[in-house]
């Protein structure tokens, strides 16, 4: 099997098949291994199309800034504590950014000695901290698990996208930049059959089985906690409402995403 590697010398260095990895709309310039997105179809532009009303911030339950803040706080904590990247809460982020801008303007109009000005400003800086930290944690995951995240994102579309448009662009830029550095310093100088970046072997995966603390917001029955010990059986658990547990993230990942369980 290795003989094919040594005897048949392929003329082209085999790079990762980027067209398989990313959205079909993306054209790839292979020699530099940097890819650009065609300007016509940005995969995430659905986010722009949809405004707050379409995303469920109206209709049945009227959302207030306060309820958005509370939901965002949960999303922030979940994102901080989950090993994988969760879907981008663009509607909450945009709503809070708008609120901040609006409030900032109002505060500026107030006299600095007005008691309210300091209190509003302090609240704004608190919310800004949550937003900043939320986006920063996501960026860290994107940098750490770039390939895995891009690959997963390429199988999603429309409303199911996990990354914001900016994050998606950043992920591609980061991946391309790192690939270029590895190519120029090392891969290009390797004997040909070794000169490729093999994603199956080299992509870094988030530790999905790692243990997390959770709180059940609703009752959950028949939760399976898999065992990895061949001599033992998988365990089945019932979680009472408001009970707290320490469990492998993979056994509750879906429940975290649908809001039945929150990470603590």
């Amino acid at each position: 099997m290795f003989t094919s590697i040594y005897i048949i010398t392929t003329p082209d260095i085999e790079l990762i098949n980027l067209s398989q990895l990313l959205h079909p709309q993306i054209s790839v310039c292979c020699h530099l291994n940097i890819f650009k997105m065609s300007s016509m179809d940005t995969p995430s532009n659905t986010l722009q199309d949809s405004d707050l009303h379409d995303l469920g911030l109206s209709d049945d339950e009227p959302e207030t800034a306060t309820s958005v803040l509370n939901k965002f706080q949960t999303a922030w904590i979940n994102e901080k504590l989950s090993p994988e990247i969760l879907s981008y809460q663009g509607d909450y982020v945009e709503c809070l950014m708008e609120q901040i801008k609006h409030m900032d303007n109002n505060v500026r109009k107030l006299d600095k000695r007005d008691l309210r000005s300091g209190l509003h400003a302090l609240e704004l800086s608190r919310i800004k901290y949550m937003l900043t930290d939320y986006l920063r944690v996501r960026l860290e995951k994107i940098e750490k698990y770039t390939y895995t995240i891009l690959e997963a994102e390429s199988s999603r579309s429309g409303d199911n996208l996990f990354l914001s448009e900016g994050e998606f662009q950043f992920a591609k830029d980061f991946f391309g930049n790192t690939q270029t550095a590895l190519q120029t310093i090392a891969l290009r100088h390797f004997p040909r059959p070794l000169a490729s970046f093999d994603p199956a072997k080299m992509s870094v995966q988030p530790p999905m089985n790692s243990y997390v603390f959770v709180k059940a917001k609703k009752e959950v029955s028949g939760l399976i906690v898999p065992t990895h010990d061949p001599e033992e059986q998988d365990e089945e658990l019932d979680l009472e409402e408001n009970s707290q547990h320490i469990l492998p993230y993979s056994s509750v990942a879906a429940l975290v995403k649908d809001g039945t369980i929150m990470l603590i």
């Binding site: 300091g118 609240e123 906690v225």
Partner: protein
């Protein structure tokens, strides 16, 4: 999550203050608070109360459980029970700590309260340590951790979850290997050998 972030979350808990100023309703993003009338109690988030207190704009009314008698009872229960008892607030220790630092003059017997609080914290930490040891020693696959407050969870993170991950990995390698050796049976016969 850092200790300061757990505290940050606790700062959203509501608390009563007695303001020394008059002000209409304060429309914050986190909710409407007030109106404030000098001398009349009002409920506000803890961060706001502390900010006003630092500017000497109010007195803080300690939560009903923040007094020596109640805390002594809690301590008594905590030392008798084997399991963790339920604390009067999810952010029990953080709220107490914040108030004792920022507004100790508003809290009667603040010195004694500090001592009892420390006793409660210590006895719960001893339980935490013992249960972590036990869980890890038994190689437990999951555990119910009711009544553990966020700050207590914070104090055993990452040690407990990361150690459990390590145990899981030590178990997993063996089962993965078991799978490999099963499939290997067929490859022994393959012509490449």
């Amino acid at each position: 999550m850092d200790t300061c972030e757990v505290e940050f979350l606790a700062e959203r808990e509501l608390i009563s203050i007695t303001p020394n100023f008059d002000l209409g309703v304060l429309h914050l993003i986190s909710g409407d608070f007030g109106p404030f009338k000098a001398g009349l109690p009002a409920e506000v988030p803890l961060w706001l109360a502390i900010n006003l207190r630092q500017r000497r704009k109010c007195r803080i009314m300690p939560p009903i459980w923040l007094n020596v008698k109640t805390l002594e009872e809690i301590k008594e229960r905590e030392t008798q029970e084997k399991l963790f008892t339920k604390m009067p607030s999810e952010h029990f220790m953080e709220v107490a700590q914040l108030l004792l630092t920022a507004a100790s003059e508003d809290i009667p017997q603040a010195g004694e309260i500090k001592v009892v609080l420390k006793d409660i914290w210590d006895s719960r930490q001893a339980k935490t340590r013992a249960s972590c040891s036990l869980l890890l020693q038994d190689g437990g696959k999951h555990a119910r951790v009711d009544n553990l407050t966020l700050m207590e969870i914070n104090s055993v993170r990452p040690l407990l979850p990361h150690s459990m991950d390590m145990i899981r990995r030590l178990q997993m390698e063996s089962s993965m290997e078991a799978q490999i050796s099963q499939t290997q049976g067929s490859s022994f016969a393959s012509p490449s050998q």
